[in-house]
Symmetry: C2
Subunit: 419 residues, 2 copies
């Protein structure tokens, strides 16, 4: 890629003209599921007209006609357009890195050996607690700039590396300040100072001491429901408390073991249950019969050398699925949704069309923004990725290639490879 | 990434100073194997001084002293340096793409269905024959520019999409003109006009009609030894003819089936046998006892959803292994060696150190350039990748991230993310 950063800039009216293709998930419904998941509307030789940060018109060039008044034109020849990508599951607010743990794991170290070497979530907790809010904000901004270059115009980010009142709230403020959609993941792990009292007592602490302010900052709450983290009873209590404070609900579930995440997610009306590498047939069917979105994170499975989630089975059963990066320093140091699109096509058995819908409209649905994000259609936010090829599917086909040519956000060029 | 292209430019003397790390495979031997594969020399707070396109000195900053005469300085603070990456197996000379085939495969189409839809190698042969030599040269140059941005300063490229005299030679000329190391892969597939006569007769044609001129253009010959392509008898005759004409020998072997590639490679003294996804225990031991390098192509296995090559077993047995992209439009549309490094660490069980040696010094050995490529050491070509992190292992750790900050080739900045 050859992109330069820039502050969002440009005209109130932007005409992207002569595009080889404009591709957008079909229809207006969200989430899309069943056969609709594979339906992408593709206009050939087309334009997108943006006004006031929104898409005003989309159509074939032959129907463009004259545009009255001032408008800046962007030459789309040889390029194709897809909606700005939506990353609905990241842990982009952290300090430090885990490159040493990565190297040890590659060399065959066991989980226990990594832990003994100071690795794992708690090593990021130590670095994040020590960083201070300004540094955390700078980190999220840096990570957001990486995401932007990869075509992500909307991202969620979770807390969960603070695990104390002050740092959890600082993370949520840093995420908001950097333009992310904040999720409170207080129940990510039990921190050392609560280890003796245990997970249930730590949930008590979160609900009594952190929730009130977290609910002012976050849009949703999330919990790591997994053996060794929080069990279904603790997760339920945490999420019910968060729901009462007005937060939407999400769960990390079925990453290593099936521990009741899908039934709980359905019962409490969660927006999503995320990971699902360990989900079996019954879980697939239950999710498909529900309104909960299954968020799949193939880069994480790749990074850890773990089994892949049953994406094809979920899609075939009619479940609503989304794709996200899981960007985090330990198990998925990858902010690129185009790479996730590639992995979806080569590892998960999804078609490029299905994968696109999963990281645009369906991811926007998980973030309660599907009325204005995830499609290129009149009235939607003018978030558009220009792909450096005449067929938009190069975004998935060209693994880690320079496929993101220009990113338009809110109707302005946010970054571009053009000089 | 945020890189801008540039023609190689800059001073005769370049000092890269204040680097957090300079990392280079240890020693001077090539190929490295056994325990040496995992040995990387890392200098902290170091510099690299380049003169006349070569590395003049490398050392810790405290030993830099005064530099006499004109020298341009490059600020390495926060960056780390590794040798310019060497991609020893690509098919970078082609026209057209195979995005439709990619989409059909992702949606579950079988090999036969892809073939019926006009996919496969022969679809690229049609496009490559139709392109003309100027377009082929432009294509290799474009692909080389992508590789460069990903840190590849030396690349091999094969013919094999012509399969007729004129186009095979045009491919080799295009690869040379674009700065690649050319390999003649005449025996890649049997083209339609030879289908009736069969593979053996096509080999006759190659040896009688193409070899003499191909041997003037290429450095090595390669053959696709696989069920449905060329068998061991045909491969032997092709390679023996090529050896007599002065070409070094390589083989595509054990990609889908074990068809005798490793024994043949050893017997005829090939430089490498490449792919090895299907190699069993006996093949691992035979290769380890030989001087033939096993070239592993994990992006190809990922792209096709195929089993991975037995990298760990090969390394543990003491085989010399290299890593390459296999960049091609059908089975590995990925020119990024950093992504291959990542996959080596997460999928193949190699440590970052082992993976680095495999795509620097050992890849250079496959290309008979290990005396001057693949290490940062006095007398070696001044090909250096500056990694955008204080630990070089981010090159593998940060999957598809903006990790390549600046690429120096022959002592000059070839591309950089700096304005």
């Amino acid at each position: 890629m050859s992109l330069r950063d820039g502050h969002d800039r440009g005209p109130e009216r932007l005409l992207i003209r002569d595009l080889s293709q404009v591709a957008s998930p079909a229809g207006r419904a969200a989430p899309v599921r069943g056969p609709a998941l594979g339906e992408v509307d593709v206009l050939e030789e087309a334009y997108v007209l943006c006004e006031g940060g929104r898409v005003a018109r989309v159509g074939p060039m032959r129907e463009l006609g004259a545009i009255e008044g001032d408008v800046v034109e962007l030459d789309g020849r040889g390029l194709s357009a897809v909606p700005g990508l939506v990353d609905c599951h990241t842990h982009a607010c952290f300090a430090g890195d885990r490159v040493e743990e990565f190297a040890l794991r590659a060399a065959g170290a066991s989980y226990e050996e990594l832990h003994a070497a100071g690795g794992g979530i708690l090593s990021t907790v130590r670095a994040t607690r020590a960083a201070g809010e300004d540094a955390l904000r700078a980190a999220v901004e840096r990570h957001a700039s990486w995401m932007l270059r990869a075509g992500t115009t909307t991202f969620e980010a979770k807390s969960g590396y603070g695990l104390d009142r002050e740092t959890e709230l600082a993370q949520l403020r840093a995420i908001r300040a950097a333009g992310g959609v904040p999720t409170w993941l207080g129940a990510h792990a039990v921190p050392p100072e609560h280890a003796d009292a245990g997970a249930a007592a730590y949930v008590d602490f979160l609900l009594a001491e952190v929730l009130a302010e977290a609910a002012e900052l976050a849009e949703a709450a999330d919990v790591f429901l997994e053996r060794g983290a929080f069990d279904a009873t603790q997760a339920r209590r945490y999420l019910e408390g968060c729901a009462a404070a007005g937060l939407a609900l999400r769960l990390h579930g079925d990453q290593f073991t099936e521990a009741g995440a899908i039934p709980l997610a359905i019962e409490i009306g969660a927006r999503s249950v995320d990971h699902l590498e360990a989900t079996g047939h019954a879980g697939v069917l239950a999710l498909a019969a529900s309104d909960v979105v299954g968020v799949l994170l193939p880069a994480s499975a790749l990074f850890l050398g773990r089994p892949l989630p049953p994406a094809r089975a979920l899609a075939d059963a009619g479940a609503a699925i989304a794709l996200a990066t899981d960007f985090n320093p330990g198990s998925a140091y990858c902010e690129s949704l185009p790479v996730v699109l590639s992995l979806a096509c080569t590892q998960l058995g999804l078609s490029p069309n299905e994968a696109l819908a999963a990281c645009t409209v369906n991811a926007a649905h998980v973030l309660a923004r599907a009325d204005r994000k995830g499609r290129i259609a009149p009235g939607f936010d003018a978030d558009v990725v220009l792909v450096a090829a005449d067929d938009w599917r190069h975004l998935a086909y060209h693994l880690a290639g320079p496929v993101v040519h220009t990113v338009v956000r809110a109707g302005r060029v946010a970054c571009s490879s053009r000089a």
